[in-house]
Symmetry: C2
Subunit: 210 residues, 2 copies
Amino acid sequence: MEVLFQSKGGKIMNRIITISRECGSGGHTIGKMLAEKLGVPFYDKAIIELVAKKSGLAEDMVEKNGEYTTPSLLFNLSRGMFNANDKSLLPLPEQVSAYQTEVIRELAEKGPCVIVGRGADYILRKREDCFNVFIHGSTEDKVKRVVSEHNIPENEAEKHIVSRDKKRAKNYIYLTDRNWGDARNYNLSLDSSYFGIEKCVEIILNYCNI
Amino acid sequence: MEVLFQSKGGKIMNRIITISRECGSGGHTIGKMLAEKLGVPFYDKAIIELVAKKSGLAEDMVEKNGEYTTPSLLFNLSRGMFNANDKSLLPLPEQVSAYQTEVIRELAEKGPCVIVGRGADYILRKREDCFNVFIHGSTEDKVKRVVSEHNIPENEAEKHIVSRDKKRAKNYIYLTDRNWGDARNYNLSLDSSYFGIEKCVEIILNYCNI
Protein backbone atom coordinates (compact mmCIF):
# COMPACT_ATOMS: atom_id res chain seq x y z
CA MET A 1 0.00 0.00 0.00
CA GLU A 2 1.45 3.33 -1.10
CA VAL A 3 0.88 6.17 1.32
CA LEU A 4 1.32 9.77 0.31
CA PHE A 5 2.25 12.48 2.75
CA GLN A 6 1.39 16.14 2.45
CA SER A 7 4.38 18.47 2.57
CA LYS A 8 4.50 21.93 4.16
CA GLY A 9 3.88 23.73 0.90
CA GLY A 10 0.88 21.59 0.04
CA LYS A 11 2.76 19.50 -2.53
CA ILE A 12 2.07 15.77 -2.27
CA MET A 13 5.20 13.75 -1.62
CA ASN A 14 6.35 10.57 0.00
CA ARG A 15 7.70 10.74 3.49
CA ILE A 16 10.13 8.64 5.43
CA ILE A 17 10.05 8.52 9.20
CA THR A 18 13.33 7.72 10.96
CA ILE A 19 13.26 6.79 14.63
CA SER A 20 16.39 7.01 16.76
CA ARG A 21 15.90 5.72 20.27
CA GLU A 22 17.44 4.98 23.63
CA CYS A 23 17.61 1.29 24.48
CA GLY A 24 14.37 0.35 26.24
CA SER A 25 12.58 3.61 25.44
CA GLY A 26 9.92 1.90 23.32
CA GLY A 27 11.15 3.49 20.07
CA HIS A 28 11.01 0.15 18.28
CA THR A 29 7.37 -0.41 19.27
CA ILE A 30 6.49 3.17 18.32
CA GLY A 31 8.08 2.69 14.89
CA LYS A 32 6.23 -0.58 14.34
CA MET A 33 2.88 0.90 15.37
CA LEU A 34 3.45 3.90 13.10
CA ALA A 35 4.26 1.69 10.11
CA GLU A 36 1.15 -0.41 10.74
CA LYS A 37 -1.11 2.63 11.04
CA LEU A 38 0.38 4.20 7.90
CA GLY A 39 0.42 0.93 5.98
CA VAL A 40 4.09 1.35 5.06
CA PRO A 41 7.08 -1.01 5.48
CA PHE A 42 8.91 -1.05 8.81
CA TYR A 43 12.66 -1.52 8.67
CA ASP A 44 14.64 -2.42 11.76
CA LYS A 45 16.36 -5.81 11.87
CA ALA A 46 15.37 -6.30 8.22
CA ILE A 47 18.21 -3.90 7.39
CA ILE A 48 20.67 -6.34 8.96
CA GLU A 49 19.46 -9.13 6.67
CA LEU A 50 19.71 -6.89 3.61
CA VAL A 51 23.22 -5.73 4.54
CA ALA A 52 24.29 -9.33 5.18
CA LYS A 53 22.97 -10.36 1.77
CA LYS A 54 24.63 -7.45 -0.01
CA SER A 55 27.99 -7.77 1.74
CA GLY A 56 28.25 -11.51 2.14
CA LEU A 57 28.91 -10.97 5.86
CA ALA A 58 27.16 -13.01 8.58
CA GLU A 59 24.10 -11.34 10.15
CA ASP A 60 25.57 -11.31 13.67
CA MET A 61 28.70 -9.57 12.39
CA VAL A 62 26.53 -7.00 10.62
CA GLU A 63 24.48 -6.40 13.76
CA LYS A 64 27.51 -6.03 16.02
CA ASN A 65 29.43 -3.78 13.65
CA GLY A 66 26.51 -1.79 12.30
CA GLU A 67 25.42 0.10 15.38
CA TYR A 68 27.64 -0.83 18.27
CA THR A 69 31.28 -0.69 17.18
CA THR A 70 33.66 1.98 15.98
CA PRO A 71 36.80 1.42 13.93
CA SER A 72 40.06 1.15 15.78
CA LEU A 73 42.33 4.09 16.42
CA LEU A 74 44.88 2.50 14.12
CA PHE A 75 42.36 2.52 11.28
CA ASN A 76 41.46 6.14 11.94
CA LEU A 77 45.11 7.09 11.68
CA SER A 78 45.54 5.23 8.42
CA ARG A 79 42.25 6.15 6.73
CA GLY A 80 43.83 7.79 3.71
CA MET A 81 45.53 4.54 2.74
CA PHE A 82 42.31 2.73 1.88
CA ASN A 83 40.52 2.74 -1.43
CA ALA A 84 36.96 3.81 -0.67
CA ASN A 85 35.60 1.99 -3.71
CA ASP A 86 36.75 -1.43 -2.55
CA LYS A 87 34.72 -2.04 0.61
CA SER A 88 36.35 -5.38 1.29
CA LEU A 89 39.60 -3.56 2.15
CA LEU A 90 37.88 -1.59 4.91
CA PRO A 91 37.73 -2.69 8.57
CA LEU A 92 34.43 -4.33 9.51
CA PRO A 93 32.60 -1.35 11.08
CA GLU A 94 33.41 0.78 8.03
CA GLN A 95 32.44 -2.02 5.65
CA VAL A 96 29.11 -2.53 7.41
CA SER A 97 28.51 1.21 7.56
CA ALA A 98 29.14 1.57 3.81
CA TYR A 99 26.74 -1.28 2.94
CA GLN A 100 24.20 -0.03 5.49
CA THR A 101 24.27 3.41 3.90
CA GLU A 102 23.60 1.87 0.48
CA VAL A 103 20.77 -0.33 1.79
CA ILE A 104 19.06 2.52 3.67
CA ARG A 105 19.28 4.85 0.67
CA GLU A 106 17.78 2.16 -1.56
CA LEU A 107 14.94 1.50 0.88
CA ALA A 108 14.19 5.24 1.06
CA GLU A 109 14.14 5.40 -2.75
CA LYS A 110 11.58 2.58 -2.89
CA GLY A 111 8.88 4.59 -1.12
CA PRO A 112 7.35 5.64 2.20
CA CYS A 113 8.61 3.67 5.21
CA VAL A 114 9.58 3.79 8.86
CA ILE A 115 13.24 3.10 9.67
CA VAL A 116 14.45 2.50 13.23
CA GLY A 117 18.07 3.14 14.24
CA ARG A 118 21.26 2.70 12.21
CA GLY A 119 21.85 6.45 11.81
CA ALA A 120 19.15 6.67 9.12
CA ASP A 121 18.47 10.31 10.10
CA TYR A 122 22.06 11.13 9.12
CA ILE A 123 22.30 8.82 6.11
CA LEU A 124 19.16 10.38 4.61
CA ARG A 125 19.95 13.96 5.70
CA LYS A 126 19.99 15.26 2.14
CA ARG A 127 16.44 14.11 1.40
CA GLU A 128 13.73 16.66 2.11
CA ASP A 129 11.04 14.05 2.72
CA CYS A 130 12.36 12.68 6.02
CA PHE A 131 10.82 13.27 9.41
CA ASN A 132 13.39 12.49 12.10
CA VAL A 133 12.31 11.47 15.60
CA PHE A 134 14.25 10.70 18.79
CA ILE A 135 12.62 8.68 21.59
CA HIS A 136 13.98 8.65 25.14
CA GLY A 137 12.62 7.70 28.54
CA SER A 138 13.28 7.41 32.25
CA THR A 139 15.75 4.82 33.52
CA GLU A 140 12.97 3.17 35.54
CA ASP A 141 10.76 2.63 32.49
CA LYS A 142 13.65 1.54 30.27
CA VAL A 143 14.73 -1.04 32.84
CA LYS A 144 11.17 -2.41 33.06
CA ARG A 145 10.99 -2.64 29.27
CA VAL A 146 14.29 -4.45 28.68
CA VAL A 147 13.45 -6.90 31.47
CA SER A 148 10.03 -7.74 30.03
CA GLU A 149 10.74 -7.42 26.30
CA HIS A 150 14.43 -8.27 25.85
CA ASN A 151 14.58 -10.97 28.56
CA ILE A 152 17.46 -9.25 30.35
CA PRO A 153 17.77 -10.11 34.09
CA GLU A 154 16.64 -7.20 36.27
CA ASN A 155 20.00 -6.82 38.02
CA GLU A 156 21.79 -6.45 34.68
CA ALA A 157 19.22 -4.28 32.92
CA GLU A 158 20.57 -0.83 33.71
CA LYS A 159 24.14 -1.82 32.83
CA HIS A 160 22.87 -3.34 29.57
CA ILE A 161 21.03 -0.12 28.65
CA VAL A 162 23.96 2.16 29.48
CA SER A 163 26.39 -0.05 27.55
CA ARG A 164 24.24 -0.24 24.41
CA ASP A 165 23.49 3.48 24.34
CA LYS A 166 27.15 4.33 24.94
CA LYS A 167 28.11 2.19 21.95
CA ARG A 168 25.37 3.73 19.81
CA ALA A 169 26.54 7.22 20.76
CA LYS A 170 30.18 6.41 19.92
CA ASN A 171 29.24 4.80 16.62
CA TYR A 172 27.02 7.77 15.73
CA ILE A 173 29.56 10.47 16.52
CA TYR A 174 32.24 8.54 14.66
CA LEU A 175 30.16 8.24 11.51
CA THR A 176 28.37 11.57 11.62
CA ASP A 177 30.37 14.06 13.74
CA ARG A 178 27.14 14.76 15.60
CA ASN A 179 26.14 14.04 19.19
CA TRP A 180 23.67 11.20 19.44
CA GLY A 181 20.57 12.34 21.34
CA ASP A 182 21.14 16.03 20.62
CA ALA A 183 17.67 17.46 19.97
CA ARG A 184 19.01 19.45 17.02
CA ASN A 185 19.51 16.29 14.93
CA TYR A 186 15.79 15.53 14.96
CA ASN A 187 12.58 17.33 14.03
CA LEU A 188 10.84 15.94 17.11
CA SER A 189 12.13 14.39 20.34
CA LEU A 190 9.75 12.73 22.77
CA ASP A 191 9.99 11.49 26.34
CA SER A 192 8.09 8.20 26.13
CA SER A 193 7.88 8.02 29.94
CA TYR A 194 6.00 11.30 30.02
CA PHE A 195 3.68 10.72 27.07
CA GLY A 196 3.36 6.92 26.96
CA ILE A 197 3.78 4.86 23.79
CA GLU A 198 0.31 5.45 22.28
CA LYS A 199 0.54 9.21 22.71
CA CYS A 200 3.99 9.24 21.06
CA VAL A 201 2.51 7.44 18.06
CA GLU A 202 -0.38 9.92 18.00
CA ILE A 203 1.91 12.99 18.14
CA ILE A 204 4.10 11.67 15.31
CA LEU A 205 1.08 10.76 13.17
CA ASN A 206 -0.56 14.12 13.79
CA TYR A 207 2.50 16.19 12.98
CA CYS A 208 4.81 14.26 10.66
CA ASN A 209 3.04 15.39 7.55
CA ILE A 210 2.36 19.06 8.04
CA MET B 1 -6.34 33.91 36.06
CA GLU B 2 -5.53 30.56 37.59
CA VAL B 3 -5.28 27.70 35.13
CA LEU B 4 -5.38 24.10 36.22
CA PHE B 5 -3.68 21.34 34.30
CA GLN B 6 -4.69 17.69 34.23
CA SER B 7 -1.92 15.30 35.26
CA LYS B 8 -1.32 11.86 33.80
CA GLY B 9 -3.13 10.07 36.62
CA GLY B 10 -6.19 12.27 36.31
CA LYS B 11 -5.30 14.36 39.37
CA ILE B 12 -5.76 18.09 38.88
CA MET B 13 -2.57 20.04 39.46
CA ASN B 14 -0.82 23.19 38.39
CA ARG B 15 1.71 22.94 35.62
CA ILE B 16 4.76 24.95 34.73
CA ILE B 17 6.09 25.04 31.20
CA THR B 18 9.80 25.72 30.81
CA ILE B 19 11.14 26.64 27.38
CA SER B 20 14.82 26.32 26.56
CA ARG B 21 15.72 27.61 23.14
CA GLU B 22 18.42 28.25 20.61
CA CYS B 23 19.03 31.93 19.89
CA GLY B 24 16.70 32.96 17.05
CA SER B 25 14.64 29.76 17.11
CA GLY B 26 11.43 31.56 18.11
CA GLY B 27 11.32 29.96 21.57
CA HIS B 28 10.62 33.32 23.20
CA THR B 29 7.63 33.99 20.92
CA ILE B 30 6.36 30.44 21.46
CA GLY B 31 6.56 30.89 25.24
CA LYS B 32 4.74 34.22 25.08
CA MET B 33 1.97 32.84 22.87
CA LEU B 34 1.56 29.84 25.17
CA ALA B 35 1.27 32.03 28.25
CA GLU B 36 -1.30 34.23 26.52
CA LYS B 37 -3.39 31.27 25.38
CA LEU B 38 -3.23 29.67 28.84
CA GLY B 39 -3.79 32.96 30.66
CA VAL B 40 -0.76 32.42 32.89
CA PRO B 41 2.25 34.69 33.62
CA PHE B 42 5.18 34.65 31.21
CA TYR B 43 8.64 35.00 32.74
CA ASP B 44 11.65 35.81 30.61
CA LYS B 45 13.39 39.14 31.17
CA ALA B 46 11.13 39.68 34.19
CA ILE B 47 13.37 37.20 36.01
CA ILE B 48 16.32 39.54 35.49
CA GLU B 49 14.44 42.39 37.18
CA LEU B 50 13.45 40.17 40.10
CA VAL B 51 17.01 38.88 40.54
CA ALA B 52 18.36 42.43 40.37
CA LYS B 53 15.89 43.53 43.04
CA LYS B 54 16.68 40.58 45.30
CA SER B 55 20.46 40.78 44.93
CA GLY B 56 20.97 44.53 44.69
CA LEU B 57 22.96 43.94 41.47
CA ALA B 58 22.40 45.99 38.32
CA GLU B 59 20.11 44.42 35.70
CA ASP B 60 22.78 44.32 32.97
CA MET B 61 25.15 42.49 35.33
CA VAL B 62 22.40 40.00 36.15
CA GLU B 63 21.65 39.45 32.46
CA LYS B 64 25.29 38.97 31.49
CA ASN B 65 26.11 36.67 34.39
CA GLY B 66 22.82 34.79 34.52
CA GLU B 67 22.90 32.90 31.25
CA TYR B 68 26.07 33.76 29.40
CA THR B 69 29.03 33.50 31.76
CA THR B 70 30.71 30.75 33.76
CA PRO B 71 32.86 31.22 36.85
CA SER B 72 36.58 31.40 36.36
CA LEU B 73 38.84 28.39 36.62
CA LEU B 74 40.38 29.93 39.72
CA PHE B 75 36.99 30.00 41.40
CA ASN B 76 36.30 26.40 40.44
CA LEU B 77 39.57 25.34 42.04
CA SER B 78 38.81 27.23 45.23
CA ARG B 79 35.11 26.42 45.56
CA GLY B 80 35.41 24.77 48.94
CA MET B 81 36.74 27.98 50.47
CA PHE B 82 33.48 29.88 50.09
CA ASN B 83 30.58 29.96 52.52
CA ALA B 84 27.54 28.95 50.44
CA ASN B 85 25.18 30.83 52.77
CA ASP B 86 26.79 34.18 52.13
CA LYS B 87 26.09 34.84 48.47
CA SER B 88 27.97 38.14 48.46
CA LEU B 89 31.24 36.21 48.86
CA LEU B 90 30.60 34.28 45.65
CA PRO B 91 31.87 35.35 42.21
CA LEU B 92 29.21 37.09 40.11
CA PRO B 93 27.99 34.16 37.94
CA GLU B 94 27.57 32.03 41.07
CA GLN B 95 25.85 34.87 42.93
CA VAL B 96 23.45 35.48 40.06
CA SER B 97 22.82 31.75 39.68
CA ALA B 98 22.00 31.41 43.38
CA TYR B 99 19.54 34.33 43.33
CA GLN B 100 18.10 33.17 39.99
CA THR B 101 17.45 29.71 41.46
CA GLU B 102 15.60 31.29 44.41
CA VAL B 103 13.55 33.57 42.16
CA ILE B 104 12.57 30.77 39.74
CA ARG B 105 11.58 28.45 42.59
CA GLU B 106 9.46 31.20 44.14
CA LEU B 107 7.74 31.94 40.81
CA ALA B 108 6.99 28.23 40.34
CA GLU B 109 5.53 28.10 43.84
CA LYS B 110 3.20 31.00 43.05
CA GLY B 111 1.28 29.08 40.38
CA PRO B 112 1.08 28.06 36.73
CA CYS B 113 3.42 29.96 34.42
CA VAL B 114 5.67 29.78 31.38
CA ILE B 115 9.40 30.35 31.99
CA VAL B 116 11.85 30.90 29.15
CA GLY B 117 15.56 30.12 29.57
CA ARG B 118 17.77 30.48 32.63
CA GLY B 119 18.06 26.72 33.20
CA ALA B 120 14.56 26.59 34.68
CA ASP B 121 14.16 22.98 33.51
CA TYR B 122 17.10 22.04 35.75
CA ILE B 123 16.27 24.37 38.64
CA LEU B 124 12.74 22.92 38.85
CA ARG B 125 13.77 19.30 38.12
CA LYS B 126 12.44 18.01 41.42
CA ARG B 127 8.92 19.28 40.79
CA GLU B 128 6.59 16.82 39.11
CA ASP B 129 4.41 19.49 37.54
CA CYS B 130 6.90 20.81 35.00
CA PHE B 131 6.72 20.27 31.26
CA ASN B 132 10.13 20.95 29.73
CA VAL B 133 10.46 21.98 26.10
CA PHE B 134 13.48 22.68 23.86
CA ILE B 135 13.08 24.72 20.67
CA HIS B 136 15.66 24.69 17.89
CA GLY B 137 15.70 25.66 14.22
CA SER B 138 17.70 25.90 11.02
CA THR B 139 20.54 28.41 10.78
CA GLU B 140 18.77 30.13 7.88
CA ASP B 141 15.61 30.77 9.90
CA LYS B 142 17.49 31.77 13.03
CA VAL B 143 19.54 34.31 11.07
CA LYS B 144 16.37 35.80 9.55
CA ARG B 145 14.79 36.05 13.00
CA VAL B 146 17.69 37.75 14.79
CA VAL B 147 18.02 40.22 11.91
CA SER B 148 14.33 41.17 11.98
CA GLU B 149 13.60 40.85 15.71
CA HIS B 150 16.89 41.57 17.49
CA ASN B 151 18.11 44.25 15.04
CA ILE B 152 21.40 42.44 14.46
CA PRO B 153 23.11 43.27 11.10
CA GLU B 154 22.79 40.37 8.65
CA ASN B 155 26.54 39.87 8.26
CA GLU B 156 26.93 39.48 12.04
CA ALA B 157 23.82 37.40 12.70
CA GLU B 158 25.26 33.89 12.45
CA LYS B 159 28.28 34.78 14.60
CA HIS B 160 25.94 36.36 17.17
CA ILE B 161 23.79 33.21 17.31
CA VAL B 162 26.74 30.83 17.62
CA SER B 163 28.34 32.96 20.32
CA ARG B 164 25.18 33.25 22.44
CA ASP B 165 24.36 29.55 22.20
CA LYS B 166 27.94 28.59 23.00
CA LYS B 167 27.79 30.71 26.15
CA ARG B 168 24.40 29.27 27.11
CA ALA B 169 25.73 25.75 26.64
CA LYS B 170 28.81 26.45 28.77
CA ASN B 171 26.76 28.09 31.51
CA TYR B 172 24.27 25.20 31.50
CA ILE B 173 26.83 22.41 31.66
CA TYR B 174 28.69 24.27 34.41
CA LEU B 175 25.60 24.65 36.57
CA THR B 176 23.86 21.37 35.78
CA ASP B 177 26.43 18.82 34.56
CA ARG B 178 24.11 18.22 31.60
CA ASN B 179 24.55 18.94 27.91
CA TRP B 180 22.43 21.87 26.78
CA GLY B 181 20.24 20.80 23.85
CA ASP B 182 20.37 17.10 24.70
CA ALA B 183 16.86 15.80 24.00
CA ARG B 184 16.93 13.79 27.23
CA ASN B 185 16.73 16.94 29.37
CA TYR B 186 13.32 17.82 27.96
CA ASN B 187 9.93 16.14 27.60
CA LEU B 188 9.52 17.56 24.12
CA SER B 189 11.96 19.04 21.61
CA LEU B 190 10.71 20.76 18.49
CA ASP B 191 12.32 21.97 15.27
CA SER B 192 10.57 25.31 14.77
CA SER B 193 11.81 25.48 11.16
CA TYR B 194 10.00 22.27 10.36
CA PHE B 195 6.77 22.93 12.24
CA GLY B 196 6.54 26.73 12.24
CA ILE B 197 5.81 28.81 15.35
CA GLU B 198 2.00 28.34 15.45
CA LYS B 199 2.26 24.56 15.13
CA CYS B 200 4.86 24.44 17.93
CA VAL B 201 2.42 26.30 20.19
CA GLU B 202 -0.37 23.92 19.15
CA ILE B 203 1.71 20.79 19.86
CA ILE B 204 2.73 22.04 23.30
CA LEU B 205 -0.84 23.06 24.18
CA ASN B 206 -2.23 19.75 22.97
CA TYR B 207 0.23 17.59 24.85
CA CYS B 208 1.56 19.46 27.87
CA ASN B 209 -1.28 18.41 30.08
CA ILE B 210 -1.79 14.73 29.41
